[in-house]
Symmetry: C2
């Protein structure tokens, strides 16, 4: 690997320039900005790096940029990334323009640089470096770059079903990856699922003088009461059966949670809060974070929200909620249960609009790809990664990987304060360079692990066909 | 009165123009817009109408415009109105610009036209017409125009104490007045009180990716739970002792409530709702509307409220609430009880900001001014007014009148669908013109009633001094 690492060092400015160029494109999927430019840029980048034009696969939304690079070995590794980014609002809180990547004290700031263009480029660069130093790739590499991750990967399930042969792989490196506050690398083995809904309530046909509140029903009170039936003050979610289908923790999970490190004091101080929910700590806190579902209010609005007092009985109210789901939970079932629960409690007047449904996904710590990742990180960073059994975040890992028998792991170039989805998103340049080297090493490590297993495309996948 | 009425008809466009001009001023006290312009406009209007500059009496907030016009009789009638208006939000629901008064099919639309610039101008116009036709006023007239009614008349109690001699009168015509759906005029003999508070909750020092909702406390959930401790699903307010101090209904009240007419079906149809709260109707509904306090959510906000889904754990949340209080209830005591109630239920983290505190006020149906109003309305409209023992709305009637022994009645130029505090606020032009005539008649009727009583400034007031 020495020569590959040397090559990466010699070409660091070249790769940093790729990163800079892609971060200049405002590829905000939610607002249909810069999406075609991103696809064109990626096409050009593949042609420059690999003298091969990638496929631009149509979906019902933004296309997937797909490339299959042949290698000498039997195995296939895929990289799942996304070229879309979150909106840059609130723009006034950025210290530098979000689409003019700027390096300050070793950190590059730009919208999408951590989530997830830094990882996308680092992975391309790793494959490019191997190819240029060795002349050929040790295994087959597939790049799957979608354009709708930040809007819930709406077209990806259909895509993954349509192209299930194309996306087949022995393992997948998932899009994200972070370092903890002490610079230790996280290795994540799963994602939570999600049900995102909007609850809404309507009253009279117009806002009224609040004197009328004596006799006219209030939709915002109705919404508040309905919400109160969803989660109690001890964080227990009250939808009957909500917890029933959750996969119980295995011995493996319990072992992992012991070793998983959550820097509690660091986090409390960083967020300026005095305690976590229900005053949890240690083991219980970690289990809640990793293995339990949530019911979170992302937003709520009704009536007058300006300065001072306005005495009005609002005519409508809404709340946006995300339920983060864990292994075993089915968002479709929970949506039905939510409807029934509201009805059963006298809230059939509360409307539900479903926006996102994703299942959780998990990869076993005993998978070859997990071992390859741990070995790579250990030898690159001289310490064990902080293995996260499942990130508390969400992504389409179930649809793209688990459903097709492909184990997936996640590690990358971000850090605990990368400000994903927030102003001043950033990564450290040195993390980016080290991330390229690490991913190049991983490709060889993965090949070795898989060859010990002696399997090509996973048998399970073959037998499923 | 024939000649006064003729004069009003001849000058209708002149008075409509006054109305148009004053409604062009965006006098939103909550946002400190157009307040000085309003005072200047009123000064000019008094000078034009009565060749007399009104006093601009400083308060700790916006000034009170005060004018005392001498008459030939012994008695004094005051008019309480306000030159401030509610904010115009939500602006997108207005069919015409809120500060560009527009006449469509006999109705003029503008923010504040019903509440309460239509009445303010109608009363000025009535006095102007009498003076121009008769040459002198039959009694003393005092105009008291405040600028903070829509923000809870915060400076008025202090003002009323400081200027108690100046505001002394034998009776007061209160700011508002409406017609029912069948065009019958309401005569209101009181107002509810109010406690307006903002409840707020803070969490981490920044909005977070909602994956963190598994372990970081949510201020918006805290707020929702706290609200749930304030009122149950059957509209019962849960603050201990809340109902204890309410004055019981007198025989007079029970008699009045029998005759008071609430057009239930009309209202249901007009608001496009199927039922009133708790499916109440008839006597129970009227009592709830007139004699019971409320706890209403005027507004609530937290987190992401735009299109589609954003997965965020908001760092703060707030709600604006108004409690409409009835005779006997003390807003100061209720504020303390509210704080204690939240604390007792584990919600000491919820902050309370108090914005308005007002006591309820009532005028007896046997007062001379009540009789004068009934007589005037009967002879002007050929039917009995719909006497409302106390309007479900609020105003500083306690501080300005009841506390100083001045009985107050309310009738005016609005109608049941005037959309006070809401988009497309409006009055009928013909109601405005008729309202001017009725107020001119009332001034004479009031003089007659008082002279039968044989008293000048009320004896009770004198003995209080």
């Amino acid at each position: 690997m020495k020569s590959v690492n040397e090559y990466i060092d010699q070409n660091r400015d070249y790769y940093i320039n790729w990163l800079k160029e892609i971060c200049e494109i405002p590829s905000v999927a939610a607002q249909n900005r810069g999406m075609t430019d991103s696809v064109d840029y990626l096409k050009g980048l593949f042609e420059e790096a690999f003298q091969q034009t990638p496929e631009v696969l149509k979906t019902s939304g933004y296309p997937v940029v797909f490339s299959h690079l042949k290698g000498t070995g039997e195995n296939t590794l895929s990289f799942y990334n996304h070229y879309d980014v979150q909106p840059e609002d609130p723009i006034e809180l950025w210290n530098t323009p979000p689409f003019e990547p700027t390096i300050i004290d070793g950190q590059m700031y730009a919208r999408g640089i951590a989530d997830n263009k830094g990882n996308l480029i680092a992975r391309l660069a790793a494959v490019h470096a191997i190819k240029n130093v060795i002349g050929e790739l040790p295994i087959d590499i597939k790049f799957i770059f979608e354009g709708e991750e930040e809007i819930g990967s709406v077209s990806l399930p259909e895509f993954a079903d349509e192209y299930k042969d194309k996306i087949r792989a022995d393992g997948c490196v998932w899009e994200f990856g972070y370092r903890d506050g002490d610079h230790r690398l996280q290795l994540s083995l799963g994602v939570k699922g999600m049900l995102y809904v909007e609850l809404f309530s309507k009253g009279a046909n117009t806002d009224l003088h609040s004197a009328q509140a004596s006799i006219v029903e209030s939709p915002v009170w109705r919404l508040v009461w309905a919400l109160n039936h969803l989660k109690d003050e001890n964080e227990k979610i009250l939808i009957p059966g909500f917890y029933d289908d959750i996969d119980p923790l295995t011995k493996e999970d319990e072992e992992m949670i012991k070793h998983y490190r959550l820097s509690e004091n660091f986090l409390l101080e960083h967020l300026n809060v005095t305690n976590f929910v229900n005053n949890l700590e240690d083991e219980e806190l970690k289990i809640k974070h990793i293995f339990e579902p949530t019911c979170n209010i992302c937003g709520i609005q009704s009536g007058y929200t300006g300065e001072g007092s306005k005495t009005v009985l609002p005519s409508e109210a809404f709340a946006k909620l995300d339920f983060r789901l864990v292994s075993g939970q089915d968002p479709d079932k929970i949506l039905l249960d939510l409807r029934k629960h509201l009805d059963d409690n006298g809230f059939s007047d509360i409307g539900i609009r479903s926006l996102t449904k994703e299942k959780a996904a998990r990869t076993s710590p005993t998978e070859r790809i997990t071992k390859a990742a741990i070995n790579t990180i250990k030898s690159s960073t001289n310490e064990m990664p902080n293995v996260v059994p499942s990130t508390p975040g969400t992504g389409p890992m179930f649809e793209l990987c688990q459903k097709h028998g492909i184990p997936a792991v996640s590690f990358g170039v971000g850090h605990f304060a990368s400000n994903n989805h927030a102003p001043n998103e950033n990564i450290f340049i040195e993390d980016f360079i080290e991330g390229i080297k690490m991913m190049a090493s991983f490709i060889f490590e993965f090949k070795n692990e898989m060859e010990q297993q002696g399997a090509g495309i996973r048998d399970e996948v073959k037998s499923q066909k």
